[in-house]
Amino acid sequence: MIRIVVRHDLGRIRLDVDLTLPAGMTALLGPSGAGKTRTLDVIGGLFTPSTGLVAIDDDVLTDTARGIAVPPHRRRIGYVFQDSRLFPHLTVRQNLEYGRWFTRRHGSGSITFDGLVSLLALEPLLGRHPARLSGGEQRRVALGRALLSSPRLLLLDEPLGSLDAGKRQEVLPYLDTLIAELRLPMIYVTHDWQEIEGRASAIVRIDEGHARSTAPDGSNVPFGS
């Protein structure tokens, strides 16, 4: 179970997020500028809100009330950024191995390098640099790179955003395979309902920075518990 509370004044909007998410894939659905990416940044530890709580099961990662802020590199949360953010000076293979090297002591779990490369059809790309990849290929590499860092939660920020219909087909089937095979908790941010229809096990709407979920038993979970 993942608990996320964020309250932060962003000037234009006020983030007011209070979520309790089950394991599995949760979609965070809302128009652009609703605070989706900022919420993911809080979960990943890249942004500290004025008030916030992030916990995976009993492991508290952010708690502003108690002054807890685990740095991002110790969170073991994979983050697939909207703009991929592949390292331009490294080859695809080196990009994929980057996170694996830092998190090797946690063990790779069920994900092996070869397994993932074949799952995402990355074999022909391994020797190339990111600048020589198409948009769809870049997304796939970013997805593989995040997964190989053995995360316990995966954040996906518009993984199909800014790809045209053809390019989406370069990514979408792989995403489906991953969701089906890895059973990794995921938070999938998108503004497009069609992307998540039939894929997400829970859907949370976010609008003007406001998002609420209910606990599995239907009651609201009070802040701080």
């Binding site: 740095p71 983050y79 703009d83 390292f87 000076h89 980057y98």
Partner: protein, 227 residues
Amino acid sequence: MEWSAADLAIVGLSLKVACVGTLASVPFAIVIAFVLARGRFWGRGVLNAIVHLPLVMPPVVTGYLLLRLFGRRGPIGAMLEQLFGIVFAFRWTGAALAAAVMGFPLMVRAIRLAIEQVDRRLEDAAASLGASPWWTIATVTLPLALPGVLSGLMLAFAKALGEFGATVTFVSNIPGETRTLALAIYTYTQTPDGDAHVWRLATLSIIVSFAALLASEALAKRLERRR
């Protein structure tokens, strides 16, 4: 044109002084550039001004300050001699120090600009993949800033190779020890019938500069191709 062994020895000394001075200042320049590019602290402007001083001050003043600080009786010079046996006064090492100090602002500036150009979002990506801040600097920030580090190195090397004022003030003009190309050429312009010698050395200095420029171009091209 025939060059004597003594002429070539002068070139050798100049290259040694410039290379050692430039390479030894790289780690310091990277640290200072990083602090200036990323640090948000009181006194950052003052630090920036101090780093740039050798660029603005008359080189003779820089040389004089070095003499007072790093001379055998200077506070830093005396300490270094006692602790590590390093002597700068009237040695080629002092010429290298003068060259390093004079080239330092150019090197820091180039590296700082390169670090400021690095996309911070890539550093966030590295952190999300488990890289600590130090590892992120070593594996993402510095490699991406490498072209800037190299161009800073070249600028500082060029400055070091032609350095005159600070060197002659700090370590004097001692043949075989601190008499670099620039100092030797100046010496022969002051000597009766020194003209032919000046020409020989001036030609050598042009050849060295030209070779350095070509080498840096080739290096820059190689870096480009790696992308």
